[in-house]
């Protein structure tokens, strides 16, 4: 009977690992990045100089389209959303001086913006903005180019200062 007790002690020692069992606690971490677009170079200026043709011929005093067409400036920005879009809104060049018969005080044009190899454009001939183009996720240049300049009546331009603008809107979602 005394021998049986000795055997029982080792069995009890072998059972001790069950009392030191590991435990795991979990801290979940999450976050989000909102869709966003930003211009890091948000503005530029195109100075067209003298808009009217010189000389004394039949076209003297009318719009010199070479002064407008092909003018380009570069903005810089980014969008972090694959659903980002780009829209161009043009405002025609206008002169506050009144026009008269045979004269124009407005210059229309088309502006095209290229970002991430995607074009968006708008003509100032119509008041609405251009169609939004899916520009996607990108960072880099937004190149704005003017083209297709014209005056309403192909008439003489009234003397004075002409101002207009091109707005490029980057939106992270459709």
């Amino acid at each position: 009977m005394r021998k049986l007790l000795i055997l029982a002690v080792p069995l009890a020692l072998m059972a001790s690992p069950a009392f030191a069992q590991s435990a795991t606690g979990t801290v979940s971490i999450d976050g989000s990045v909102a869709g966003r677009c930003l211009f890091t170079t948000p503005s530029a200026t195109i100075s067209l100089g003298e808009l009217a043709l010189g000389g004394a011929g039949g076209t003297a005093g009318k719009l010199d389209t070479t002064k407008v067409d092909g003018q380009t400036r570069t903005l810089v920005g980014w969008c972090n959303s694959s659903a980002a879009t780009m829209t161009v809104t043009t405002t025609e060049l206008t002169n506050v001086a009144s026009a008269a018969t045979g004269f124009d005080n407005r210059v229309d044009y088309t502006a095209t913006a290229v970002a991430n190899a995607v074009n968006a454009n708008d003509s100032s001939l119509t008041p609405a903005s251009g169609t939004a183009s899916a520009v996607g996720l990108f960072t880099g240049n937004i190149v704005v180019t003017l083209s297709a300049s014209s005056t309403p009546n192909s008439a003489l331009l009234v003397a004075g200062t002409y101002t207009g603008k091109v707005e490029v809107t980057l939106s992270p979602t459709v």
């Binding site: 677009c37 530029a44 200026t45 009217a52 003297a60 005093g61 060049l93 001086a97 603008k165």
Partner: protein, 189 residues
């Protein structure tokens, strides 16, 4: 109830996402500007030269004295000023004999006339030369009224009323005169 209100306030404060979405759109602007200088252009005169032919009668009661001429017209098509406040001026020089020797009494070497430029403003630019028989004081200037708007028009210059001071006998020879039309900014009063 007050406690519930506090909880709602906390929940609203913990939702920053809508504020971020509103500022997510970006706009870049390219300003475009230019100017047009004020200019006036006169069309090419048509005809550029008026040849009156023989100035003096060769027979009859007025032999040697000036012929009665009809009006002579010159057009300057598509003339314009692209600004408000322009004015037309005519400077006329009497027809003078190329021989500038002072003529004897009863003779003259100058033919006067009236030049009027119309088609620009409310009143025409009109001038009548008053050269003396010896050709002095041959040039005169007339100015029209101010055109208050940019204007594009065909100008008409009319020459009329050819006369000789004292209706003297014209010295033989070739005669020439000029009319200078100027379109430009109105003179500052």
């Amino acid at each position: 109830m007050k406690r519930i209100g506090q909880i709602l306030l906390l929940a609203l404060a913990a939702l920053p996402a809508p504020a971020l979405a509103q500022s997510a759109t970006a706009t870049g602007t390219v300003g475009v500007g230019g100017q047009v200088a004020p200019v006036c252009i006169l069309g090419t005169p048509n005809p550029a030269v008026i040849n009156l032919g023989t100035l003096a009668n060769t027979s009859g009661a007025r032999v040697g004295r000036i012929v009665t001429f009809s009006e002579q017209n010159v057009t300057l098509p598509s003339s314009f000023c692209n600004f408000a406040g322009s004015q037309l001026t005519v400077q006329a020089t009497a027809l003078l004999s190329t021989d500038d020797t002072t003529p004897p009494a009863g003779f003259a070497r100058a033919v006067n006339y009236t030049a009027s430029a119309s088609g620009w403003a409310a009143s025409n630019a009109t001038v009548t030369t008053t050269a003396l028989a010896d050709g002095t004081a041959a040039t005169a200037t007339g100015t029209g009224s101010v055109q208050p708007l940019p204007k594009l028009a065909d100008l008409l210059v009319t020459l009329s009323d050819f006369t000789v001071t004292g209706d003297a006998i014209l010295v033989a020879g070739n005669y020439s005169g000029t009319i200078v039309v100027t379109l430009g900014p109105a003179a500052i009063p």
